[in-house]
């Protein structure tokens, strides 16, 4: 199963990073190809909360189904696959650690494309590349959004 890992330093405290990480409304901006997200129940991330992410990958519409399996405030967020979507396997783990006055975020993805999707997409290699591009840019997007500042008072 392909595994991608990324570690990034974010110039914001873990509380700020967590605000982005634990709010599913940010997901379409964290994954470049995610379009919309539906969560059940609504609201901030909680264990057992399910996610349905609609995404456009290489010009086709796909769904990614997952649920949160670990939510440790300001330190760890984990989600795993729910069958029926693009992935047959999907583990996503983000851990946060205080680093000086900022935060170190470690991001891990493990995934496998479901056989039913693999047999139908026009170009599987291109889709795999698009998927890994999304995962590679996730940490950068998390940094970018976490480092945004409010307007001066």
């Amino acid at each position: 199963m392909p595994t991608l890992q990324d570690t990034i330093e974010i110039l914001s405290p873990p509380q700020t990073v967590w605000r982005v990480l634990s709010d599913p409304t940010f997901l379409p901006k964290l994954y470049n190809d995610a379009v919309t997200v539906e969560v059940d129940p609504p609201g901030h991330s909680s264990v057992g909360q399910t996610l349905k992410i609609q995404a456009r990958v290489t010009g086709v519409r796909v769904a990614i189904l997952a649920k949160y399996t670990r939510v440790d405030k300001e330190s760890c967020l984990e989600s795993k696959v729910v069958p029926g979507g693009l992935f047959s396997e999907f583990d996503h783990l983000v851990t946060l650690r205080v680093l000086g006055w900022g935060t170190e975020a470690k991001v891990t993805f493990q995934y496998a494309v479901a056989a039913e999707y693999a047999s139908k997409v026009p170009d599987l290699a291109m889709m795999e590349r698009a998927i890994t591009d999304n995962f590679r840019t996730y940490a950068k997007n998390l940094k970018d959004l976490s480092e945004l500042l409010p307007l001066p008072e």
Binding site: D23, T25, V35, V37, G59, V60, R61, L148, L151
Partner: protein, 152 residues
């Protein structure tokens, strides 16, 4: 006040474009500088639905407040601004017309950046250019999303 008008041919039926317009959760993908959205009441667009959008101006977090003002299924979608956000005035009108090969889409924006909201540290002309860029990209993204097809 600034006015921006854009027209594009979408290779999809008006119903497909309408589906994207009616779902407020597409909005952060339509405007490049929008980050997230909350809709009240939640769910699909209804006249009077209030929307609060988190966005960015460079490295700063900003907010937009809008309301769905008119809906004519598969023909017209209109939004207006509410007080308190980054735009002092805002209207967005999307007109859909069926064509043989798809849909002709016309979008008209009228807006004014709020000086009170941003304060004296920001250059209003730069902010206005950022808004124009977002609006130009909006119609391209709307076309791309409406033309998406499912895996068969």
């Amino acid at each position: 006040m600034r006015t921006v008008r854009e027209t594009v041919l979408v290779e999809a039926k008006p119903e497909s474009v309408w589906e994207v317009l009616m779902d407020p959760y597409y909005t952060p993908k339509l405007y490049p500088d929008m980050i997230n959205i909350t809709a009240d009441p939640p769910g699909r667009a209804v006249v009077g639905q209030n929307r609060t959008l988190g966005g960015r101006a460079g490295k700063r977090l900003i907010e937009f407040k809008t309301q769905v003002s008119e809906l004519v299924p598969n023909k017209l979608f209109a939004i207006k601004g509410r007080p308190g956000g980054a735009l002092e005035e805002f209207t967005e009108v999307v007109e859909l017309a069926p064509l043989k090969r798809g849909t002709e889409l016309k979008v008209t924006y009228v807006f004014k950046v709020s000086e009170d909201y941003f304060g004296p540290e920001f250059d209003l002309l730069t902010l206005e250019q950022m808004a124009v860029r977002n609006e130009e990209v909006y119609i391209k993204n709307l076309k791309a999303l409406a033309e998406l097809r499912p895996v068969e």
